[in-house]
């Protein structure tokens, strides 16, 4: 195993003409029931793809398949030119703790609640070979700052944090290794509206500044309008419509999307 300096991530070879993630005919069944079926899309560097749909529409199943938590029954996933499903588990797990990130809806699922904030942020660095306490701590302080957590909270455990802070800590923990692809499952769900706004702004800035590609699953159309470049609408495990986010929301073509858009309460 060759260990690169964990603080020096390789310079991104920017190839915006090549998709970062290509998904073809992805299908996952639970017995006779369809989890998701025939899902295909491409995600380019710097793009944010929103997936919306009601509960049970298959959006979470799709995300789990993409992130490698579930094994799809059919289809292909290719990341940066590599066949993800044919990859060895070692490679896939290494990918998912360096190049990929996964932000859970419930921060408790994505954080180590018994480990300090600094330890939570530093874990991925140590996992890729960082062995200098001072540098790890420096990076942790830097990332806590970026997600607006005061540096003096670095030794506190996440259990002492508010829900919004926990979610920001989870994001810092995930982004510290400069991943290129981030999966997010309802990242603003369960947060106060005011906290949501701050998180949305933070995510937008990170996407822009770091050139992240993001797949975000949510049922909140306001969130995707502000965050996602493109939108995929799912129903019954299938994609019924996809396109530019504002186009899908303002000029929906499919009956289900029209229903979904017209069902949103106006504030």
């Amino acid at each position: 195993m060759t260990l690169q300096d964990p603080f020096e991530f390789p310079q991104r070879t920017r190839a915006p003409d090549q998709p970062l993630l290509t998904v073809e005919n992805l299908t996952k069944r639970y017995g006779p029931r369809i989890g998701c079926a025939d899902v295909s899309f491409e995600l380019y560097p710097g793009e944010v793809l929103g997936i919306v749909g009601e509960s049970g529409s298959g959006k979470s199943t799709l995300l789990s398949c993409l992130a490698g938590h579930h094994c799809p029954d059919l289809g292909r996933i290719s990341y940066d030119g590599r066949d993800v499903l044919a990859m060895s588990e070692t490679d896939r797990r290494r990918l998912s703790r360096t190049d990929w990130a996964y932000v859970h809806q419930n921060p408790r699922d994505g954080l180590r609640m018994g480990v300090s904030a600094g330890g939570n942020v530093g874990e991925r660095l140590m996992a890729v070979g960082a062995r200098h306490y001072g540098q790890i701590r420096g990076r942790a302080v830097d990332w806590l700052g970026r997600v607006e957590i005061a540096a003096d909270r670095i030794d506190d455990r996440p259990s002492a944090f508010s829900g919004g802070m926990q979610q920001r800590l989870q994001i810092a923990r995930n982004l510290v290794t400069s991943p290129r692809l981030v999966f997010m499952d309802e990242p603003t769900g369960g947060l106060d509206v005011s906290v949501q706004a701050r998180l949305l702004d933070l995510l937008r800035g990170l996407v822009r500044d770091l050139g992240l590609s993001v797949v975000i699953v949510t049922h909140d159309l306001a969130v995707v309008r502000l965050l996602a470049h493109r939108l995929m609408v799912m129903k019954g495990g299938r994609v019924v419509e996809q396109g530019l986010t504002d186009q899908v929301l303002d000029d929906p073509q499919h009956a289900y999307t029209q229903l979904l858009v017209s069902s949103v309460l106006q504030v």
């Binding site: 588990e89 062995r131 306490y133 030794d155």
Partner: protein, 287 residues
């Protein structure tokens, strides 16, 4: 019932073969935890059932066995196990580290350097170094398989963040030959440097957890640390009050109700040997 009702060294030959196979596999893959079918032994779990089974599988009639508990030959646990093998295997016993062929130990490595041909058997309560951070056995096995050891350093990071230094003082994890991270059993970290490059065979037996692992002679075992917080072997900053040894691991003994205390070598054989050669500590009497 007479002692002759038992097979040599208590265990039946098939069981010993099974354990020997596990030991050989452990030696072939240093630091890797080999599962084995741990037997019920005539003593409770936590009293060294793993070590006893490994010792039983290693003993041959010509062996001289030494058993220590926290470095001492004369504590209940050590005495019981020594008597157990005297009765069931009829092997010779000794308290002298240099004379022993097999040494079973709980929580110490003898001060006297070991030699080629000797076998050191450790009693291990929890063989899995990742256990306290990751409770799922399926996950820890996967982490060993894929060399995902970042979590070990998270524990050390937390130590430094909380205490200003690495506070783990026993069962300090080591990386074996750059591959497996291993729990050296609850020996003080003072003993960690002796794990590495040791001429003796070191075997680790966990009875309740049903795992055996090993360090073959001259195997490298590196204590995990940070570049800016390097590993240090530590001991109480005193000399032995009986033999005056400066560099042996010490036990603190409370001597009265008014704050009186003394520090003595935890390795009783080492201490006695020094006193026999005329070394005298602060409270010792000339031999």
């Amino acid at each position: 019932m007479t002692d002759q009702a038992y097979n040599f060294a208590y265990l039946d030959e098939q069981t010993k073969r099974m354990i020997r196979r596990a030991i050989l596999k452990g030696i072939a893959v240093p630091g890797y935890q080999v599962p084995f079918a741990s037997r019920e032994m005539p003593m409770p779990y936590g009293w060294g059932t793993g070590g006893v089974q490994v010792t039983a599988a290693c003993l041959v009639p010509g062996d001289r066995l030494k058993v220590i508990d926290q470095g001492a030959d004369d504590t209940t646990n050590a005495v019981s196990i020594r008597r157990f093998f005297q009765r069931t295997a009829g092997v010779g016993v000794t308290e002298a580290t240099a004379e022993a062929t097999v040494i079973q130990t709980r929580h110490r490595i003898p001060e006297t350097p070991l030699a080629e041909g000797q076998i050191l058997v450790y009693q291990v309560p929890i063989p899995e170094p990742l256990r306290f951070l990751e409770p799922r056995e399926t996950e820890t096995r996967k982490m060993h398989e894929l060399e995902e050891y970042g979590l070990m350093h998270v524990k050390l990071y937390e130590d430094i963040a909380r205490h200003g230094q690495i506070a783990t003082s026993y069962a300090y994890p080591v990386k074996v030959e750059g591959r497996y991270v291993m729990d050296p059993s609850p020996i003080p970290r003072f003993d960690n440097p002796k794990l590495s490059g040791n001429p003796a065979i070191q075997l680790f037996g966990a009875g309740r957890e049903q795992r055996i692992y090993a360090l073959p002679p001259w195997t490298e075992a590196v204590s995990l640390d940070f570049e800016d917080h390097p590993f240090h072997a530590t001991k109480a900053p005193h000399d032995c009050d009986l033999c005056g040894a400066k560099h042996s691991y010490l036990d603190e003994v409370i001597t009265d109700d008014t704050g009186g205390r003394m520090f003595v070598c935890s390795d009783t054989d080492f201490c006695a040997g020094r006193r026999a050669k005329g070394h005298v500590g602060r409270l010792g009497e000339a031999a």
